[in-house]
Structures are given as structure tokens and as C-alpha cells.
């Protein structure tokens, strides 16, 4: 069961403005894993994430979501996405609730939101601590509050897979702790997470694996970088939860 791959990229290549940005990426995220995608600015993290959701066309390789080739994947209610963004404000005012509600559309038939849907939206706002701003215009929020609204929008559909592109950018430490708690609860409930990060921060204990990109290639795929030095010491003999590639990852604490 936990062997099932939720995201699978094999030799994915992509070009932007006829410049190769991804040059053959392999990445597998299995059910229940929390994988961090790391790398310098411009290394292709966002592009990799955007090929997964189909926003950037691939020029080679294969992408599968929940075992289905991405082209034929239709079950979008299982996926929550937080784009890398400085603002989600459009040219017309919209309230926090209105924006978060659009995250629920994947579960709504013909775009009609029922009572259960409105409740899910409220829960999502609660999770990120923005319930008291529900009726405010998103244009009147700070950058970090905005980011939390975008996270709530992704959570509104109660997805099994969360793809987040720098969700913590501009979020203060206290809110990061809150969001880390939220994410921990999601993972405990069985969610799979792929996140782009620059610093692991309060999320560090949650992360099973880190994939580091450089110039559109995978440089490292394994335990988060912090762990590498310490655990690579000779004589280090305890069973590490992050087993080498191919082996079953051993989960500690987070999942029952």
C-alpha cells in the first residue's frame, strides 16, 4: 500500500522560451511521504512542479499521478496545489472566503457548493488561522496572510496529495509553526506532500526525503541535507528512517 507511487516523474524534460529548463528529472513520491524539493533560485523547482500539474508542457519523459499518466488523469479533487506567488489578487475585489471556495470546485458538481462544501471551506480557513478574516478582501491582506489563504484554498478540497511551491515564503515563524502542525495532521491522516522549500524550518521533522535540483538535474535524492553530515559519520549505526532509494521507508511516529 505504502509502496504505491503518487507522483512519478521519469526522465522529464521541459523547455521554457526554447531553453531547456528540466534536463531529465526522475522523482518518485510514495503514498504518505513528505518530500522536499530544494535548490537554488532558477534551478527548475517551480518548473518541475508545474509540469506535474500540466501547466508547463513536457518535451520528453513520463509523468504519472496516482499511477495514471498525467494526460489521462482527471481526478483533480485528490490534488491540492499552492502556487509560488506574491499575490493572488485579481482585478476585482474578492473575499477570502470567495477565493478559498474556488479550491472546493473540484469536489462540487456543476460548480454548485452545498452545505458540506461551505463547511469544508470554513475548516480550511480555521486550519490556517484566517477564519476571522473570512469576509475581508484579499487585496487588504499582508503577503504572509495571503500565502495562508492560498494554502487554505489548496486544503479546501481535502486532497490526498498536496503540492506546495514555497508555501512558507513570507510567513512568520509563529504561523509557520501553525502550518507545520496543520501539515502534520494532514500527513497523519494519510496525505502525501511534495513541497518546494528554501529552508526546512519548522517543517524539518516532518520531511522524509529531500530532492535537490541544480540546473534542471537532480543532484541529490535522499535524507534531508542537515542529516547527511551527522549520519554519514563512521560508526553511525542506528536504523535510519530514511532508507536508501528502493527500500521501504520506515515511518516513525507520524503514521500509525
Amino acid at each position: 500500500m505504502s509502496d504505491e507511487s503518487v507522483i512519478s516523474l521519469r526522465g522529464v524534460r521541459a523547455e521554457l522560451g526554447s531553453r531547456p529548463v528540466l534536463r531529465g528529472i526522475d522523482l518518485t513520491v510514495r503514498r504518505g511521504q513528505v518530500v522536499a524539493l530544494l535548490g537554488a533560485n532558477g534551478s527548475g523547482k517551480s518548473t518541475a512542479v508545474r509540469t506535474i500539474i500540466g501547466q508547463v508542457p513536457v518535451t520528453g519523459g513520463e509523468i504519472e499521478l496516482f499511477g495514471t499518466p498525467r494526460r489521462r488523469f482527471r481526478d483533480w479533487a485528490r490534488v491540492g496545489y499552492v502556487p509560488q506567488r506574491t499575490t493572488a489578487a485579481g482585478g476585482v475585489p474578492a473575499t477570502v472566503t470567495e477565493v478559498v471556495s474556488s479550491g472546493r470546485l473540484s469536489r462540487a458538481r456543476f460548480g454548485v457548493l452545498r452545505k458540506a462544501d461551505h463547511e469544508a471551506v470554513r475548516r480550511a480557513l480555521d486550519l490556517v488561522g484566517m477564519a476571522d478574516r473570512a469576509k475581508d478582501s484579499v487585496n487588504a491582506l499582508s503577503g504572509g496572510q495571503h500565502q495562508r489563504v492560498l494554502i487554505a484554498r489548496a486544503l479546501a478540497a481535502e486532497p490526498e496529495l498536496l503540492i506546495m511551491d514555497e508555501p512558507m515564503a513570507g510567513v512568520d515563524l509563529a504561523s509557520q509553526e501553525v502550518l507545520a502542525q496543520t501539515l502534520r495532521a494532514q500527513v497523519a491522516a494519510g496525505a502525501t506532500v511534495l513541497l518546494v522549500l528554501h529552508e526546512l524550518g519548522p517543517l524539518e521533522p516532518l520531511i522524509d526525503r529531500a530532492v535537490v535540483l541544480r540546473d534542471g538535474c537532480v543532484l541529490h535524492d535522499g535524507p534531508p541535507p542537515e542529516a547527511v553530515g551527522q549520519h554519514a559519520l563512521p560508526g553511525h549505526d542506528h536504523v535510519h528512517p530514511h532508507a536508501p532509494a528502493g527500500a521501504e521507508p520506515i515511518r516513525t511516529g507520524l503514521l500509525s
Binding site: 501547466q55 491540492g80 485579481g90 476585482v92 475585489p93 479550491g103 470546485l105 460548480g111 475581508d136 478582501s137
Partner: protein, 300 residues
């Protein structure tokens, strides 16, 4: 009201109300996706349709609908596949559309630019029975789309990338928005004219925004505003013998200015009401401890 005794005025008022509803209803999505001038572009393309209608002696309204829908689809395709200079391609479409209109209408037997004028600036008194039928059908389509699909269109116009991940057919919805905008242009053509159409799509929305915080309220207020100014403009033009299109647009801009002036005092009152509701919550000013305590004394 004597004004309602004339059949041509009844038709004019009906057309005006439908334009007042439909133009802001689709315009709000164009403003949301920051394509406020799209209506203007389609208006220029529609001129070729009017010219073709005269040349082929077809109904100019239906011909304009056909051509502006094609033009809108073309603009949307340019937006997808357009490389760096999408704006240049759009400009060609605008000016090509205008030039095509002038050319075709002059090729038409007995046609001259004078025929075009009533389409450029609107001519309510010449709205015919068949025009009204066309306008009603087209307006029904626009209302169906903009109200029935409001959540989907909101999501796509707010954040296209996110909308894709909710499984919405993003391209189809973008095309539908463009086609609906094109249809609205031809609905409004007889009332405010092709050159002023875009004003009714954009200005009521901009005016409503001065007061609102939510999309739903912006939608409702801009449609209410649209209907008020189109009725007001039509009636004024009847009594004062001034051109209806220009009257309507000037009234809309007047409403925008009025609401902008009202916005600041209203916001202040709203803030005060909020502060009264939760008194101790946030005092208006930062409090600095007034008295110096022992802890502040600095030993020498």
C-alpha cells in the same frame, strides 16, 4: 409616462436594459483577468462584420456577432500560442477589423461611412423589431453563462494555474469568456455603439469596486449601475435630444466619480462601526507608557 407610448421607445428601453445587464456581467470577468480592453478590441473587429453584413445584405447584427466571435476566438488563440509580441498581433486584429469595416461598407451598393456611424456610436431610435429579437436571444445567452457559470469563471479569471488543478476545463472556459464578450459587444452595438461598448463593460465594474470587498457584491452593484445608467441615458436622450450612447457613457463615468468620492467617508464609517463593535480590540493609536517607572531609571 408618454415615453412608453412609442413602440420605438419601448424597443429602445428594452435593448438598453439588456445592455445594462449584460455588459457589466461579462465585463467583470474581463476586468478580473486584467483584460479590460478586450471589449474594445472585439468592438473594432465587429466593424468588419457590420461592413460584411451590408455588402452581403445580411443582418448586420448577426454578421457582426459571427465575425466578432471569430475575432475573439482568434485573440484567445493568440494569447495561447502567441510568443513574445502578442500585443502586436492584437493591434493588427484591431486595426484590420476597423479597416475591413470601412472597406466593406464602401464596397456595398449604395453604402457609405454614414451607415457605419449608427453602429459606431449607437442609434437607439432605429432599433428594429428583428434587432430586438436578436438582442434578447443574445442577452439570454450572456446571462446564462455569466450567472450560471460564475464560480467556474471566477476561478479561472482569478488564477488560471490553480483552476487547472481543480480540473476545470480552463481553455474551454477562456474561449467561452471570449465568445460571450463578443456576443455582448453585438448586443450593445445598437445602444452605445461599437466604439463605446467597452466603457459599459469596464466603468460600472470600476465604480462598484469603490464600495465593495466581495466579488458577489461587485457583480450585483455593477449590474444595477449598468441598468440605471442605460435607462437614465435613454430617457435623457429622448427628452434632451442628445445621442444616447454618449449620454450613457458620460453618466457611467459620472457615477464612477460620485462613488469614488463617497468611498472614503463610507470606509471610515465602516471602520468606526467595527471599532465600536469590538471596543478594546485595537485602539486607533499606539500607546506608549506615559509614566516613567523605576525600571526606566538609569543608574550613573
Amino acid at each position: 409616462m408618454e415615453i412608453l407610448n412609442y413602440a420605438f421607445m419601448q424597443r429602445a428601453l428594452l435593448a438598453a436594459v439588456l445592455v445594462g445587464i449584460t455588459a457589466p456581467a461579462i465585463g467583470i470577468y474581463l476586468v478580473q483577468r486584467r483584460q479590460a480592453l478586450m471589449g474594445d478590441g472585439i468592438g473594432h473587429v465587429a466593424m468588419t462584420g457590420v461592413g460584411l453584413g451590408f455588402l452581403l445584405t445580411w443582418s448586420p447584427v448577426w454578421m457582426a456577432t459571427l465575425v466578432s466571435v471569430l475575432g475573439a476566438v482568434l485573440m484567445e488563440l493568440i494569447r495561447w500560442y502567441g510568443k513574445t509580441r502578442g500585443d502586436i498581433a492584437l493591434a493588427m486584429l484591431f486595426y484590420g477589423g476597423m479597416a475591413g469595416g470601412v472597406m466593406f461598407i464602401n464596397l456595398a451598393p449604395g453604402g457609405s461611412n454614414a451607415n457605419l456611424t449608427s453602429y459606431l456610436f449607437g442609434s437607439l431610435s432605429t432599433v428594429s423589431e428583428s434587432d430586438v429579437t436578436a438582442i434578447c436571444l443574445l442577452a439570454a445567452f450572456v446571462v446564462l453563462v455569466t450567472v450560471g457559470l460564475r464560480r467556474q469563471l471566477f476561478a479561472v479569471s482569478q488564477d488560471e494555474e490553480f483552476a487547472r488543478v481543480t480540473g476545470l476545463p480552463v481553455r474551454a472556459l477562456n474561449l467561452l469568456t471570449a465568445v460571450t464578450a463578443a456576443v455582448t459587444v453585438t448586443v450593445a452595438m445598437r445602444v452605445v455603439g461599437l466604439l463605446l461598448v467597452s466603457a459599459l463593460m469596464v466603468v460600472p465594474v470600476a465604480a462598484a469596486q469603490q464600495l465593495t470587498r466581495s466579488f458577489a457584491a461587485t457583480f450585483a452593484i455593477s449590474v444595477a449601475l449598468g441598468v440605471s445608467v442605460t435607462i437614465g441615458g435613454t430617457v435623457t436622450s429622448y427628452y434632451q435630444d442628445v445621442p444616447p450612447g454618449a449620454t450613457i457613457v458620460l453618466l457611467t463615468i459620472g457615477a464612477f466619480i460620485l462613488l469614488s468620492l463617497l468611498a472614503a467617508p463610507l470606509a471610515r464609517r465602516r471602520a468606526r462601526a467595527l471599532a465600536a463593535a469590538q471596543p478594546a480590540a485595537d485602539p486607533a493609536e499606539c500607546k506608549i507608557p506615559a509614566t516613567r517607572g523605576a525600571a526606566d531609571e538609569v543608574g550613573v
